[in-house]
């Protein structure tokens, strides 16, 4: 149990440290790469919680897909060498206020709730269980997700595709 705790805390430390780097780094490229370690850390936590499928998906989609996309977007953005465009802290006073508020609520929830803790985690492969659920209990939501993706796909195409007849090119930003 002791070693389990240590590993979880190591992952948590990685997440917090890299997330801080994402937020505070003055260079957008550094931020994007720091995000890589955040995603890895989260995947590690999933593994420790015996959510093996979720961990794999986390790596595949977030690290393999979204992060690569973000880095591409960052690299294709012009004036990337300008450090100025990176995240400067705006309105620290208001930000601190919001931070304290959210922290208070979350800490309140964490400490006031009587969590029903199960003593020992049972390790088992979850992929088959998830597949079973997706085709039985969650069949309909699963199908609706595909409609949702269709709408998103088409919407994105509508927004970004080249100007068609009658549209002035000046207005679009």
């Amino acid at each position: 149990m002791q070693s389990f705790n240590i590993v979880v805390y190591v992952f948590a430390a990685i997440i917090v440290a890299s997330a801080a780097l994402v937020a505070f780094s003055r260079n957008l490229v550094y931020s994007a790469f720091a995000l890589l370690f955040t995603f890895f850390g989260v995947a590690g936590i999933y593994v420790m919680l015996s959510a093996d499928f979720l961990a794999a998906v986390q790596l595949l989609i977030y690290v393999g897909g979204i992060l690569v996309l973000i880095i591409f977007a960052v690299m294709l953005t012009h004036r990337i060498s300008d450090v100025e465009i990176s995240n400067q802290s705006l309105r620290p006073a208001q930000g601190a206020l919001i931070l304290i508020g959210i922290m208070a609520v979350l800490l309140g929830v964490i400490f006031k709730t009587q969590w029903s803790l199960e003593g020992q985690l049972e390790y088992q492969a979850t992929t088959a269980l998830i597949g079973d659920l997706l085709l039985k209990k969650y069949l309909l939501p699963f199908e609706i997700v595909s409609v949702l993706l269709l709408a998103a796909l088409m919407g994105a195409a509508v927004i970004v595709r080249k100007e068609v007849r009658g549209e002035q090119s000046g207005g679009k930003s």
């Binding site: 009587q114 939501p141 609706i144 949702l148 998103a152």
Partner: protein, 485 residues
Amino acid sequence: MEFTLPAIKIGAIAPELILVCSAAGLMMLDAFAKERGKTLLPILSIVGLALAMVASLKLWGKSEVTFAGMVAVDSYRVFFNIIFIIGALLTVLLSMNYTPREEIDRGEYYVLVLLATVGMMVMAAGTDLIMIFLGLELLSISVYVLAGFARGQLKSNEAALKYFLLGAFASGFLLYGMALVYGAVGSTNLAMIAETLATPHLPARVLLMVGVGLLVVGFGFKVAIVPFHMWTPDVYEGAPTSITAFMAVGVKAAAFAGFARVFIGALGALHPDWTMVLWVLAVATMTVGNLAAITQSNIKRMLAYSSIAHAGYVLVGMVAGNEVGRASMLFYLLAYTFMQAGAFGVVIMLGQKGEPRLNITDYAGVGHKYPLIGVAMAIFMFSLGGIPPTAGFVGKFYLFGAAIKAGYVWLVILGVINSAISIYYYLRVTVVMYMHEEGEEVLAVSRAPAVALALILTSVATLGLGIFPSWIWEPVQKTVNLLLG
């Protein structure tokens, strides 16, 4: 692992299936048809919507939960389906002449309208938090794109971006709230949630309360209640007017459908806890919406603030929480669909390409030059203001009556005061139309037979609901039994 397919009742999701199929068909038609075939798109959408309406009506009076507790087949859902389909039909009618005029007549427009309607239906039918969230996302993503459909116009770009950014935030709040509720209760199924909450001892009360609070924020944004209304005027003003009408009637009704099923149904045991919050929000929404509407000079912005105020009136019914309250919410949302879509129809009718003149003062002399349009607009304005014999009056009467019955006298007093305030700015439009000297020239009417048809339908319905409310009120009272799954 042995695998048995679950029982699939196609009939239970027939309306949604029909609309998804028509949307897919329209997409294919748009991709492969020649120019002439594309003129069929709006007509085919109307056919699809009409079929979905028939399929919905077939579900009337049933009472069961299918798809492993995901979908309710109850009259509540059917009634909301009717509202959504009417809203979508009116939107298509309003768009038929509007989109060519604004040169945004691309096929995806109707596909997205249909998909958004599917999202609304899923929201109203869902008996699981997952379903409600997916419905909301399907609806929202389609409408984000529709709001920015006039890509050549900066205002439309701004509307889409604002709606998307704030909407994504709101979805985040909603999802976080759902996650916390799931954490506290141990299920996303509404019936299971209600069952767990009915037990006296709740171990994770704080967690639950924070989750419910986040749910209020998420739903509050989607129905545009104060203080989560900031996006409404800009988005309503910038979006294409036909889509503004769609947002004002369909999106709002859908959000209320999910809101009410979750709060009155699943979280009914917590009624004393969330009622006070909604009480305050209802008063704030009515007051801010009406006071801000008074100062508006742009008619689309004025109608946007008015739609905020109307969300406040509907909240009164939710606060009441009794059976009459639920029924009156449904009645009011239906009445509101007609009058608000009609008002936007008049705006479209009197607009030119690019809609350069949207000031209320531009409507001077319209009443004399185009008597029929003047009369129609007057009916919608009277109805929105709640003057008899219109649907708006009857709707408010039921809503406030329900709240009185539940003992919320002060809420009703504030609501009535607000209603009186709102008459000022609704009547101002009528006064400008009939009594002001026309300025340089009276607005020209665009040739739009489909819009004219929509105006006739909505004004007849607005008056009809006002004069014969019992035709709808009787069936509506049967819809109040929410199924939870």
